[in-house]
Point group: C2
Chain length 437, copies 2
Amino acid sequence: MCLKTVNIGICGLGTVGGGTFNVLTRNTALINARSGANIQIVQVAARRINPVCDTGNVNVTEDIFAVARNPAVDVVVELIGGTTVARELVLEAIHNGKHVVTANKALIALHGNEIFEAARQKSVMVAFEAAVAGGIPIIKTLREGLGANRIEWLAGIINGTSNFILTAMEEQGRAFDDALAEAQALGYAEADPTFDVEGIDAAHKLVILASLAFGIPLQFDKVYTQGIRSLDLQDIAYARELGYRIKHLGIARQTDKGVEVRVHPTLIPNNSLVAEVDGVMNAVMVKGDAVGPTLFYGAGAGAEPTASAVVADVIDVARALNSAAEARVPYLAFSNASFNATPIIPIEEVETAYYLRMTALDKPGVLSQVASIMSDRGISIEAIIQKRPKAGENHVPLIMLTNTAVERDLMAAVSAVEDLDGIVGSVVHIRVEALDK
Amino acid sequence: MCLKTVNIGICGLGTVGGGTFNVLTRNTALINARSGANIQIVQVAARRINPVCDTGNVNVTEDIFAVARNPAVDVVVELIGGTTVARELVLEAIHNGKHVVTANKALIALHGNEIFEAARQKSVMVAFEAAVAGGIPIIKTLREGLGANRIEWLAGIINGTSNFILTAMEEQGRAFDDALAEAQALGYAEADPTFDVEGIDAAHKLVILASLAFGIPLQFDKVYTQGIRSLDLQDIAYARELGYRIKHLGIARQTDKGVEVRVHPTLIPNNSLVAEVDGVMNAVMVKGDAVGPTLFYGAGAGAEPTASAVVADVIDVARALNSAAEARVPYLAFSNASFNATPIIPIEEVETAYYLRMTALDKPGVLSQVASIMSDRGISIEAIIQKRPKAGENHVPLIMLTNTAVERDLMAAVSAVEDLDGIVGSVVHIRVEALDK
């Protein structure tokens, strides 16, 4: 298959622009195999080059409008932020027949109706997955994945800064100002945190989600918006006493009377999955009439999580530019020619941690024999539970958590342990995964 | 815009077939506005009509192959299950140039390589979102939403029956056989539960996810598969003591040596989001190099959750059949002509429950005055916390949770409460959402 080339111009090389440049550059082969296109960065516009980017022989300009006018550019990726110059840039790009990918929630929330109308007239695409919930593909999910459903409601933690501050207040008992200062020190909050802590950023995102869910135009002025600045530590504590946690949620709900679109601190039951979403992470619950409740969780900000969404949009646009059957989403994600020969590893060679349970005779030395069998095979023990024997019994359960070991070594150790005189019967072994890396 | 008509033939009208028929019929207008196509069911093949379906004047046949041969059918929706007749049906449909949508994980896991090769030769689509994790759009997420990422690993609860049994064992201390019997009584497990409790169903799904994530062919014979039948209640208890829960996971991971693809009971830290996924729900974590950790949660089985995925595939196929710009995914999910005039409700008219905190003078009658103001406005109180005053203080915090009330009424009550002589200062009010309906 001869890949169609799609030429990208990136405007803005800050946090998200730099991440987008790097993801496109690092994962080129994989992205081309998924998209069925040869996606190339042909121009970058930036006032200064981001030191994390190796722009090599890419054409770099300081003039973002040069990208919107560059005849070689098929897709303009707007990552400059703001709503004034960004609006002009996007309208100019559309006017010149270019497709647009943007991460700019304020731009879409405030000027989306105008932008989409201009784009419709020029038959160009405007994609904005990165505008809501960073790397979580929530826009694709609402537009496509849940397309069969009448959406009943959605509720999301869609501002990582507010969630970070709330988590610090709750877990460490810190006051709002103190938690905000930490968020600023860590780069999670701006010097002027108004957009985040007053709920405006969340409102920008919610107005987009509500439009996608309910088929209504973007109406930012109708969103009820309340931030977290006035939240008191006492209320977080009392909420917990009542079985709730306080989260800053964007909620959109279809009712008989119309649509609710509101952003505010909210008590939610502490056994709800959303209540477990801490720090800068985002999550959106969507309730559809067919699918029932669903939840989508991931990083809501940051260079590469946001780039993940920007580049997914670039792939979608590249695919839509080619109407040939070969450009469809491949059956198994990658074009057939790109199947790789990576082997599937036999279970004996897999490394995991292990939970082991055995029955030991209650006599001296058994534990040390077991420990020595483990250590001879390079298996270290992270935790042990050993109970007193019950009255009248002479054997005790012995439970261990190991560190990571190769399955073959672990099974050899288990065999050796089972052969010990002090061990009765077989050793129960269950794999352990931290799911944290 | 003149909608292109896409004609669907549904083979099988059991649980999933019936759900698909009903979702397509009930949400027709909304589905057409999202897909830019006029999607019609022109034929149904079933041995007997599902009583939940009103097939009206749809052509019904007992011969599934009649659908695969029907010149009027554009898309064959295979929902008969099994791998013998289903394989023949799908290959026949492809041979006749029809696109295929299927929910059949065993078919894709075992015969997918053959089916996709046949489909490629005829340039037809074969879509199978419903084959993994029911209503969760995890296949679209891996193929498109996270398309920018090198996937490092994924881990999922992808068999609801096993998860239901494990949850019952853990929360109610019930033995495996007892929990299985309940799952069977509730319709969550088959009379012969082998596929579910031995991990085979999860292995079918995992082999599909691994192929999508890593670009390797489907290789069911290489999957390490272990079920939950031999799991002992003691181990669930000891795991909890160590800070873990035991879940039945499908895990696929890219390593330097190859790809691990394995299904087995697994200890996971009890503060992991996946550890909170209980009952028949499914969840898949995906770790991408750019996006970081993500999680996708929802119903993994059932008539309408599965239909949600089947119909999403039908929409995708319908859209791909029309290469006109109008057939692209609409900017805001619905074709512009379909924007509806549903109003956004002012916050005063929104109904929610409320958390209230006020400072009351420590004298008799204040609580009863507050309660009477609430009840006069039809607001009922669900919980109250009232503490003893601290030594030397004459006021106490009074915290209440209300039931659902209209914001306007609640705010009027708050005003009246603030006017009471026995209440000091203003009343803190924070909305409460159960997120459970």
